[in-house]
Symmetry: C2
């Protein structure tokens, strides 16, 4: 099971009852946090989580509303006696920006590892899955992220029998091991069917629409996408500051066909996002206006 929580839904500045946009994904004991603006640690606690198990942090870019909560989050992780290293992923400049912010969080009981993304798309593996960073189109270098969980194929007992593989090796083959005995070699592909559909959540914010976003969100279980402005007269502003309209997010989702899309990163001027969802759903029906603390448990298909 992959648990996804949209901790906040605000853009630009945190507000009473709307924290800054940030996503927490939990899988198999690992928490992955994407973006950490001012107040994210409060939103995290409000949603019932703790900072301690965050093993990976992804940053889309270094505008304050996406990273200003980092020093406090690091200190709270440190205060909870965490000692495991923390992996940070983000565009070029990551170590420099984090280093500067750590002027007020200089001492931590855990190591920080940095992975600076330079290519248009890069994959970073973790146990059971991988994170794909893909470049988007903002006024500074900015990345979207997909978090994917792999699912192996079904074990084919008939194939194993037909190949004469001793029963005692079945379990190890099923877990991906290669076995050699008396000059005979047994490999997992002899007993395993094709890889099955896994789980995927895609997060993209602070960008104009791009083909790459639609490709990266393709068939995602959940696509969390920026919808900074809803009203047509804000389009100039969206163009100027390289943000996205509700409708544009809907059009991306219509191309990508995720199972569901949630909008987020609302302008402070946007009071009731729900009011504008009809025109979004006219383009892509499985759309929801994200709310602070909204969460979902994603499970493998039953097959």
């Amino acid at each position: 099971m992959l648990e996804v929580c949209l901790l906040g839904t605000g853009g630009m500045m945190p507000m009473p009852r709307r924290y800054l946009t940030s996503m927490l994904v939990r899988y198999n004991g690992l928490s992955i946090l994407t973006d950490c603006g001012e107040g994210t640690q409060i939103a995290l606690r409000q949603a019932g989580y703790s900072p301690n198990p965050i093993g990976i942090m992804c940053f889309t870019h270094y505008h304050a509303d996406h990273i200003s909560g980092l020093p406090g989050m690091l200190l709270s992780m440190g205060n909870s006696d965490r000692t495991e290293p923390l992996l940070m992923i983000g565009p070029r400049g990551l170590e420099r920006v984090v280093g500067a912010l750590r002027v007020i969080a200089p001492e931590l009981p855990f190591e920080i590892k940095y992975r600076e993304i330079k290519e248009a798309s890069e994959d970073i593996a973790f146990e059971g899955g991988f994170i794909r960073a893909f470049r988007v189109n903002h006024n500074v270098t900015c990345y979207g992220y997909s978090i994917e969980i792999k699912r192996s194929g079904r074990f084919d007992a008939e194939a194993a029998k037909a190949a004469g593989i001793p029963l005692k090796y079945w379990n190890r083959l099923q877990h991906g091991q290669i076995i050699e005995e008396d000059g005979v070699r047994y490999t997992p592909d002899m007993v395993m069917g094709a890889e099955r559909r896994g789980l995927k959540v895609t997060y993209s914010t602070d960008t104009r629409p791009t083909d790459s976003i639609a490709e990266n969100a393709k068939d995602a279980d959940l696509f969390i996408c920026e919808g900074m402005y809803s009203e047509a007269d804000k389009f100039e502003k969206a163009l100027e500051h390289k943000h996205m309209m509700f409708k544009e997010a809907a059009q991306l989702a219509a191309k990508a066909q995720p199972k569901e899309m949630w909008l987020t990163h609302y302008s402070p001027s946007l009071f009731k996002p729900e009011q504008y969802m009809d025109e979004v759903r006219a383009i892509f029906p499985a759309a929801k206006a994200g709310k602070d603390g909204m969460s979902v448990d994603l499970n493998f298909d039953e097959d």
Copy 2:
């Protein structure tokens, strides 16, 4: 009128329903903010204020819970098209720390002026009053602040008449001007009584009790004081990390005799400060457990 609002009452980390300790003082169109931890701009808006009119910011010290909200606050001030310069006051290192944090808030439409406090006590004047910074005793250099509004004496019409001062000069003398005419010199002290009691609010946090705190809070209208821990078994912790117990704050107040004391900067482990106030009030009766957003309007004595 001096308006004082305790924006938050938390220490160490911001929590749902308890923002970090910060005080907003408003006088005559000027807002003075003391400390700005993560979430202070949210607390400020929650209490109904705006970041724009903040003309002076005081920092007690540079632990994250007292300054981590600065980049976001500066950006919010910039977004509201503020152009007036901002004066920052704090211990040595102010410009270096703020400079580092501004890696995520590099462009602002207003100038920042720095006043680094080096002496045990320093006064900084503003129109109508002054701020007194006084060193306290924490594990890094830390200052408390008093904000004082001056009040001139009463105009003494009898004295003016007796001295034969022409009526046309009375108003100017009353406003502090010196007048010379035909070799005769009229000075305000000829017509004004002794300076009357003004207004004073004193703020001290992150410190062990010191005589200087009691002296500086002497006769304040409001003394906002750290009460990090309430239970006796936390005393070792208070000593180690140089914080204050509820009782110790009460003893300081008993010496200083402010009109009222509010406790703040509660440990995250302290859920209901009100439960421990009886023993505080046994020592100093005019004590309140501070709450987020608690405010008071201080007025000159009626005399």
